[in-house]
Symmetry: C2
Subunit: 328 residues, 2 copies
């Protein structure tokens, strides 16, 4: 009985601290402007019991793109930095790479030439570095890289280049019993090893691009081997497909930053009841990067037009966000 | 302030009722025998703080096969009854089926002849009834069927043929902060429309076999169209692959009933720390069906040998379960 009472007391304490936390501003890194107001207004109306727009907790699904929405993506997707580092690490086991493109140019540090082969070259680099090992081995490789590798321009750890205002937004939504998902064009197994620690998003709430895996017995122990065979591309038209495959419910809120997110936002907004769509517009060339319609990475063109036409929320990073990265 | 206090009170009330519920037997339909004892012992040791086998809540993943583990599967998988009912419903739109196999025999009620074409015939029946519509249309078709169709032998709704002891087990695990998943060879979109109401398992925690879907704009509205193209078979070696793709963590407990579940159980047991594997053995020809090594549906042969060799828990339905179905 004593044990039960102390348990009840701790439940009460947790409940009280939650009640006090509610009083504080849940989005302190957001300036008090239209974007923040739109977010809070949406969350209030779908979570307030009795509201005509009330949504029960189980249906509160929010999906977030990763690259350019939760962390930076310039001058190229961080997963490509990872792949290049892996080519260098694996080179001793592949003497033939010295004379074979795209590897030869990667090893010389000439990425421009390496990527002249377009998608085929990119696929070769990715398969050579992402396939052939077990899922457990790959997880450890990613964990190791994420803990050490640094961005060439900012010298930060890549996981230090996540957006503080978006971390607050994720936590705010979860405090209101939303389930927060990543729906990214990036590799699902490249994200899962660190999303829980960095974003509070567990592996089962990460949707991404994938290669096939195969169940095998090795020395009497079951393993999953990563095959050099594309399984699914979770980008553009693929995002609603990935959402349906993994979640099986339509999100009520979606967050992106590029034309690659347009279909996810359209799919989200086409559901019944209150809905929310937001685009992060990269307008801060000083604290981060400024790019949109003409960028090769994170091109924001058609989605920006549609956001303007339909009144979706567009975050102006320079003016909406007090800071960009957690350490700024 | 008044509002906050009443909220705290309701939190306290919920906490108190949870505390009292703990005192009652969480598995009343299980006889007090080895299977029940093994389940409770495992759950206690992984959830008791300070236990050397303690597992934090986020890692408490439990996966359940569906057919033969959570609901019956005789004289054939219930999804095949659904497909046959759909062939009949769609026949007026397909006059050519009158003379084309396997449809002609299905329409004559001669399933034996219809299925003589083996897997090819089965695939034709499935694709003709599961593809071609949008995901929303298919969801409504399934919901409608599940609400009305009845099993030819028991005359019960199919969702009335779920196992009461397993419903209790699912609820017991969730009360201990396990996340319960279905990992089934059945169609993922065939299960999702009713698993939340019947099992308390939300759509995002259902893993199953799938066909491909395609994003399309129809009259300016986005839809996902179900294509007559196989995407993934979530059976045998496919189960660990499906678990990895959807969950991204290894379960600590897995529940099955046939050789189709063997690899899922092997994958689960190969992880570090305390693990639990259970097979439901269909031994009750009176209240349900009795079958194992020689059955075409739900064959339990190799998995039974491995369970015996490795000391996995094997449920003897006849002796372990006080009742089978909720209405018994």
């Amino acid at each position: 009985m004593k044990k039960r009472i102390s348990w009840l007391l701790s439940v009460l304490l947790i409940a009280m601290s939650a009640a006090f936390a509610q009083a504080a501003d849940p989005l302190p890194s957001w300036n008090d402007m239209a974007s923040k107001k739109a977010i809070v207004a949406f969350v209030e109306k779908v979570t307030t019991p009795g509201s005509p727009d009330y949504v029960r907790p189980a249906e509160r699904i929010a999906t977030f793109d990763n690259e350019g929405t939760l962390w930076s993506e310039q001058p190229m997707y961080f997963q490509l930095f990872f792949a290049i580092d892996r080519v260098k690490a694996l080179a001793p086991q592949h003497p033939e790479w010295k004379t074979r493109e795209p590897f030869a140019s990667v090893l010389k540090g000439d990425l421009k030439t390496a990527l002249k082969g377009g998608e085929k070259a990119l696929a070769q680099i990715f398969m050579a570095t992402h396939a052939g090992m077990t899922t457990t081995e790959f997880e450890n490789i990613v964990k190791d890289w994420v803990a050490r590798a640094r961005h060439p321009k900012t010298n930060r750890l890549y996981t230090g280049m996540v957006y503080q205002p978006m971390l607050e937004l994720l936590a705010y939504l979860r405090s209101k019993f939303f389930k927060t998902y990543i729906v990214s064009g990036g590799g699902i197994e490249f994200m899962r090893p660190w999303t829980e620690a960095v974003y509070g998003i567990p592996p089962e709430q990460v949707v991404g691009s994938s290669i096939k895996t195969k169940f095998e017995m090795r020395d009497g122990k079951p393993v999953l081997v990563r095959l050099a065979e594309l399984d699914f591309i979770d980008d553009k038209e693929g995002k609603p497909v990935g959402i349906n495959a993994h979640i099986g419910r339509r999100p009520i809120a979606a967050f992106g930053n590029s034309d690659g997110d347009l279909q996810m936002l359209q799919w989200t907004m086409a559901g019944q009841g209150a809905r929310f769509a937001l685009l992060v517009h990269h307008t801060d060339g000083e604290r981060e990067w400024a790019y949109d319609r003409d960028s090769h990475i994170g091109c924001l063109d058609k989605a920006l037009d549609e956001a303007n036409a339909k009144g979706w929320t567009v975050v102006d990073m320079k003016n909406d966000w007090k800071r960009i990265y957690p350490d700024q």
